[in-house]
């Protein structure tokens, strides 16, 4: 297999006494969708923040497209082609939807007209075509998630880090947005997504990494992962796999 586009190697991150990420390693294969799952507080968002330069790791390295990018500031990583969304959406509330996306589009388009054309196109691609002139603070939760996605896509990234873009959406909203993610992957964007909605993980991801208490405890295809006793235990508590297995036996 070719060298993955993103390689995280032995990353550890401490907040005071708390070890949020503990010697975690993972990779995202170019052109694929990789999922990162794990219970609440496992350290998933922290790991994303390290990859995108917002948090410094105490140990370990991050390589992107074959280069060591450990500790680079966020704006420089964005210019290299790493885009992220925020779990707690961070729109520019005072601006219109179009102006929000425009900021991302300006990364590779200096001219306003060219950037506006890109912004409008991406806005339509994620299903915000009707809302472009609205103020960002008028969007629903689902709309804000789409905006978060659109803005990061507008930077024309190679790698897109999605932090729970489906959280808080109802099933029909999820059904609408899953094909959008798949489509951008088809266009060549490598995707690493944190997701709790297992149904979406099963249908989208080719590789899954499981983080629990800061450690990567399992990796594999979605079907392998759901059958992994270690994963079941991480979610449901120690001994859960055995208890479930016993019940299946009867």
């Amino acid at each position: 297999m070719a060298e993955p586009l993103l390689v995280v190697d032995g990353v550890t991150c401490r907040f005071g006494g708390l070890v949020a990420v503990n010697a975690a390693s993972l990779g995202a294969q170019e052109g694929q969708i990789t999922a990162l799952i794990g219970p609440n507080g496992a350290g998933k968002t922290t790991l994303f923040s390290i990859i995108s330069g917002f948090v410094r790791a105490n140990q370990g390295s991050v390589h992107f497209a074959g280069q060591n990018v450990t500790g680079e500031p966020p704006y420089r990583l964005a210019r290299r082609g790493i885009a992220r969304t925020f779990q707690i959406v961070q729109p520019f509330y005072g601006l219109s939807v179009r102006e929000n996306i425009l900021v991302g589009a300006h990364l590779h388009h200096r001219k306003r007209d060219a950037a506006l054309a890109v912004a409008d196109q991406i806005g339509r691609d994620v299903g915000l075509g009707e809302m472009l002139d609205r103020a960002a603070d008028q969007l629903t939760v689902a709309g804000r998630k789409r905006l978060e996605l659109a803005r990061s896509l507008a930077t024309e990234p190679k790698l897109l880090l999605l932090d729970e873009v489906l959280a808080g959406l109802n099933p029909s909203e999820i059904r609408d947005i899953v094909p959008v993610i798949r489509e951008f992957c088809r266009r060549g964007i490598t995707i690493l997504m944190i997701e709790h909605v297992m149904q979406a993980v099963m249908s989208l991801a080719e590789q899954v990494f499981v983080l629990a208490e800061g450690r990567i405890i399992a990796k594999g295809t979605p079907t392998e992962i759901v059958a992994d006793p270690a994963v079941v235990e991480a979610y449901l508590g120690r001994g859960a796999a055995a208890r479930l297995g016993a019940r299946h036996g009867h």
Partner: protein, 329 residues
């Protein structure tokens, strides 16, 4: 070209004023108002578009004033070069302070306090340093002429300050529609989100501070030529820090015309309050302050923001056929 039409129209109207108004008192009033508008536009670039509220723009105003005066008086530099020197010095100071402050990650009230303290330190230094004339101040010798940048006619000064205001309006308009402007506004709205989209926030803020400082310094340079005198209380006093931030806030923060509108309104208000109260001491200031508080209370986005909301309200009441106007964000 279209976005510049309103600027051209406003400038044309203002340029005609001296043909109609001949009173020196009125022209003097307008010259000072425009000077404050210029200082306010400087503040507006960093504070209005960039969201970095400086409480110490006196630092730049005063540096412009002193450098213009000192270059002429002590080094015999031509007044016009002195003027340019003042702007350059202000910009350099803005760059140095910006690099220091933004790279160390100071934001919000910390930024406000640091700028305030910085201007205060400069004021104290200027009040004792021999080169500034210390407590006595620096007097530029009266010597009328184009070469010395001194004019008998108030109208000449009026047109000069109007031209400077015009340049600052065009600059604000250019910034508003540029990539730099989009980045600056993004930093104001949400710095982390901006960084994630590839914005080098501290550099963007520092560049904004350079432009901001240069414009406010230009107002200071003009002060020196117009009044031919400067001391530490004038140059680095809190009065100008306050006027520079008050005018855009009243007029409309982060808008092209906010500072100009704000300066005209605030200055008119001040004069009106004085006329109204006659010589009851301090009463004019109370009226002035009350009205300002009311304006900010009723229209938190300033007069221009208030007008925009009012217009939107009226449109909603009369939902006529689509106007077919093209909005470009």
């Amino acid at each position: 070209m279209r976005p510049f039409l309103p600027i051209a129209a406003v400038l044309a109207v203002l340029a005609a004023v001296p043909f109609v108004v001949h009173s020196n008192t009125t022209l003097n009033f307008l010259v000072v108002a425009l000077m404050i508008a210029l200082a306010g536009q400087g503040w507006n670039i960093l504070g209005g578009y960039g969201g970095q509220y400086s409480f110490g723009h006196a630092a730049f105003f005063g540096t412009g004033t002193y450098v213009t005066a000192i270059l002429q008086v002590r080094y015999g530099v031509n007044a016009w070069f002195g003027f340019v020197g003042g702007i350059v010095a202000g910009a350099a100071l803005g760059g140095a302070l910006g690099a220091l402050v933004f790279r160390s990650g100071l934001r919000g009230s910390y930024f406000a306090l640091v700028t305030l303290a910085f201007a205060e330190v400069l004021r104290i230094i200027a009040s004792v340093a021999p080169i500034t004339g210390a407590g006595v101040g620096t007097l530029i010798k009266l010597d009328l002429g184009i070469r010395t940048f001194q004019f008998q006619s108030r109208a000449a000064f009026y047109w000069i300050i109007l031209a400077l205001v015009g340049v600052s309006l065009v600059l604000a308009q250019l910034i508003e529609r540029s990539r730099f402007g989009a980045w600056l506004i993004a930093v104001r709205e949400n710095e982390d989100a901006a960084k994630a989209l590839g914005v080098d926030a501290s550099t963007v803020k520092t560049v904004a501070m350079v432009i901001s400082a240069a414009i406010t310094a230009a107002a200071g340079c003009f002060y020196a030529q117009y009044f031919l005198f400067v001391d530490s209380g004038i140059a680095y006093g809190t009065w100008i820090s306050i006027e520079a931030l008050l005018t855009p806030i009243i007029g409309g923060v982060g808008t092209v015309f906010g500072p100009l509108l704000g300066a005209l309104v605030v200055k008119t208000l001040g004069e009106a309050a004085k006329l109204l109260t006659g010589d009851a001491p301090g009463l004019d200031l109370i009226i002035y302050g009350t009205v300002l508080v009311l304006v900010i209370w009723i229209m938190p986005r300033g007069l221009i923001g208030g007008l925009a909301s009012a217009r939107k309200l009226m449109r909603r009441e009369a939902p006529a056929a689509p106007t077919g106007e093209v909005r470009h964000g």
